[in-house]
Every structure is written in C-alpha cells, then in structure tokens.
Point group: C2
Chain length 320, copies 2
Amino acid sequence: MGTVVALGGQVGGAKLADGLYRVRGRELALIVNTGDDYEYLGLAFSPDLDTALYALGGIAASTAGWEPEGETRSLQSMLRTLGGPGHPPLGDKSLAAALLRSQGLAAGRRLTEVTLDFCRNLGIGARVLPMSDDPVRTHVITDDGAIPFPEYFGELGCEPRAHGLEYAGADQARISDEVLDALHAADLEAVVITPANPYHVIGPILEISGMRELLRKRGAPVIAVTPIVGGKALKGSAGKIMRDLGKEPTPRAVAATYLRLIDGFVIDRQDADMADSVRSLGMQVLAAQTVMRTIDDRVALARTVLEFARSVRDAKAEVE
Amino acid sequence: MGTVVALGGQVGGAKLADGLYRVRGRELALIVNTGDDYEYLGLAFSPDLDTALYALGGIAASTAGWEPEGETRSLQSMLRTLGGPGHPPLGDKSLAAALLRSQGLAAGRRLTEVTLDFCRNLGIGARVLPMSDDPVRTHVITDDGAIPFPEYFGELGCEPRAHGLEYAGADQARISDEVLDALHAADLEAVVITPANPYHVIGPILEISGMRELLRKRGAPVIAVTPIVGGKALKGSAGKIMRDLGKEPTPRAVAATYLRLIDGFVIDRQDADMADSVRSLGMQVLAAQTVMRTIDDRVALARTVLEFARSVRDAKAEVE
C-alpha cells in the first residue's frame, strides 16, 4: 500500500477524508482549500481547514460538522451586548483555532506549520495541509461585482446570481514544501478529489499555479467523488452556483469540470443511470453509495474509492 | 449637586463606583487603573476596565464580579485541546471585550474611545475612563526581578516577596482630554478613591505625571475608602503586599499612602477604634459600613461618602 493524497474542504470532503484516514492513517495527506479563509475581528478563520481538523480529530459535532462538538455561543452574545458585529454566528470553541492561528501567523509561522501543530495536538497522524501558505481568496462575480465567498454564502445566502468565480492570488500562490513532498511521494497510490463544491472548494486548489501538473506527476490515478446526488448538492451551494452558471446540477456537469485531470469519477448509486453519460466524457465511472451518514459509511466509501483507483491504475498499466 | 470623580479598579472599587453611579448617574466619571492591562493571545485585556463596565452595566456575575454573568469556558477548553496556553482561565464572554478592544486599537482608536463605546452599548450613562491612553504596566519588584502584576497575581499567586512596585510608562503617560475635562469640571463636588489596593490599583493612577496636582486642582475634597477591614483586604493582594513591604495591613497604613492627597478617610465600622490613630495623620475620618454585599450596601456607602465629602468641604470653607 502506498500513500494517498486527498483534496478537499467542506463537511462532505472532511467526511471522506476521515474515512481515508481511518483506512490509511498516517499515509494520508489532505490538501485543503483556503480560498474561503477570511478575517473577522482581526482573527484568521480557515473554515475548511478547521472542518477537516475536527473531523479527523474526532471532535466534530455530529449535526454541524463544521463545528467542534459541544459548541456554545456565549462570546457571540456578549459581542452583540458590547456593540460588536452580530455575525457570522461563530461559537466559542470555533474561535480557539482562529485565535491560535492568528497568534502563530503574527509570530511569523506559516499556515502549514500552525495547521500541523493542530494535527499533533489533536492526535491526527495524517497531514492536513493548506493548499498554500500564500493567501488565495475566492470571489463570486455578481451583478454587484466580485463578492468574497464567505460573504456571498454567509451574509447573502447565495442570493445574488453568480456569473463566475475568481480566485484572487491563486496564480501567485506557491505550493508549500509539504504539499510538494506529498505529491512527489514515490509510492503515491491515488489522488482523491473528495465530494465538495467543484467551484469554490476544489476549484481554488486546482488553480494554484502548477497544481494540476503536480497532481498528475507521479502517474497515480486521480479519482473524484461527486458532491451532487440526485440532482442536489448534499450540502452547501454547489447546485445553486451551477444553475447560475447555466449548468444542470448533475454528476456529469461536475465530472466535466475535472476533464483532463481525473481518470475516474464516482457517482452515487441512485444516479447509476447516468454512468454512461459520464463515461462518454472519457473517464471511468463507478456507482457507489456516496452519501455518508455514519462513520462506517465514510470508511466504506474510502475503501470503495481506493479499490476503484487500483482498478483504474491496473487498466492504465494494461494500456501502456 | 455637582459632578463626582472616582478612582478605581478591582471588584471593590467597581462596587462603590456602581453605588456612586446609582446615586449620581451621568454626573459620575470613573477613572480606572490600566496598569494591570496585559496581552494574551494577541488580545488586549483590561481587567479593571471590564470589571467596572460589567458592574455599572449591571451584568457582572454576583459571585465573580470581574466576569459577566452567565460566563462559560468553552473556548478555553478548546484552546487546550489545540495545544494553546491553559491560563489565565478566561471565560468566553470575557473575551468579547478584549476582541473588540484589540480591533478598535488596531484601527487606531484610543482606549478611551473604545471604552466609551462600551459604555454607550451597555447603557451606562456615566463615563468610565482609562487613566491614560498610553500604556502603563505595573511590576512587582521581587528577588527574581520585576514581574508584571498580572503574572505575579495570576500565575505566581502573589507568592514571591514584594520589595516594591514600579509603574513602567507612568511618567510618560499623558492624561487624556476626557480625564482632564472630568477633573477640570467647575462643579466638581468630590473626588472619591474607591476601596482598592493602594499599590497596584490606585498607585498607578496617582503616578501618572500631573495626576496628583490635577486631583486637587478644583479644591474639591478628596475622600478615600479603606480596602482593608479588620486587618484583611477584602479581596485580592493588598494585605500580602503590605506585609511584604513591612507595613501592617491596617486602614492607617493605607491612609498613610494617601498623605498630602486626601482630606478624608473612611474606615470600616468594625475598625472604629482606629479612627483617632488615622486622624493623627492629619485627615478627617469617618467610620461606616464599607463592606458591600448588596446593591443597597453600595448605594448606602456612596451616599455616606458623598455626605462625608460635603462635611469635609464645609469644614475647609470654615477654616478658609
């Protein structure tokens, strides 16, 4: 068995990453979107990194995977009492990572170093890695101009029509040594794109200058898992943004965004009738249970994806 | 009735300030010690300011007056989980003021402006004013060198022997326009030194360059209330530090630290037998109930102190 690199963000991505971690342990490196990072009250928030850390650390709330379990909201109410901003509705525990991150960055540490410290303290053997130590900010292009994604999602509820997305800073952002090491690994077995919004979660990662080439460098199969099941994004904004962009929110449309990058695509069992349509894009397709309600579901999907990667690799080897 | 200026810090000081506020409303200006301010996790903590704000805002916890009521400790536990520092044991709500203060200061606002904003938002009609917008830091001189007071008190539990105190920055700190206005008021009726540690709460305020002169400028009587009752400081560190400095922790010893500044000194009823001894220092003395267990106690002591100030003023007028 070799090493596995996963790309992700959001709760769905964190769930599959957790499954991969439970199957592969320290052989997993998870590259996480930081395009939705933002500053609030002078603190550095990295929602996708924290969601991943809580999931792999086993402390995510079961009902709200982006928060630690047992979250409270005392500080937020006091902020309002003192005349501070009332949103976003951050819990008390969720502020801890932001506080320590801000302190670390202010002391000159890299985001990657701060994140790996969190991994150590949470007992996570896998490497959770920001996609870059340089800032990238995803904006949604609307009639009112470019809006930072956290504002588009949190304050505007994805209301404004999206004409496109831009990833400010992605072309100058450097790939960290830690991400390079993970993707250069001689025993890299698979690259897994977890089920997350292809536009604002996976998109920014792929836009980092040189990332697409690097993902294919070792020749390991690249497998993506659909975030769209039965015509609906399971969580978040993918469906709405896709419709705004004139695309049907289907697994095929997601797969099309990964053309020339992925070798295989996993659709949900209930969308099995779309398999041929996706296959016609020029990739292998597997239908599986992609909805992860339990920890067992995460582990099962992780195993399924890794087996699929193996079969894709074997098929490629036969052709070559 | 004129205006009243109070000097204070700590819970005892905040209680009497609250009593004065309940009696005089917006005619009160409270000048608060900032010598114990500190940075933690990159945030600006002002414990005495916040204690005063919670008291006058009517949201202080009844059992721990330095905290807002309904305090929780979720963030602190998460900080530890993530490998952050474990102390001081700040609650979630207590962080709100520090966060907003840090943000305000980072944006170039003065500590006084930030504090007056808090007053407005808490519905406090009185002016709660930091003793200066410039940093002053109280250190305790020990065998191991000068230790910042918050560390001496919080982490070291006042254990090291104190040889003295120093107020770093006090000689360069400027008196703010708001404090100048309060002390220049033509109708200034009394200056009240609330019951708080004379060394690390009232001391720093008095050490600000020009403050002692200013306190006497309008000729209003200056009245101090003892923080020592029956040989014990009601809260905090006064007794220990006084003994370290070779002084008996008595009302007389406290009064002696205010020589040539105050006109009258309020001792507790249970120390009434010490009245003559204090009087011999050359000041008027009143024995009253200084222990404030209830809101009514605060109001009663405030009225007593203001009446005492009036009699002192009348006596001065007769002499002149």
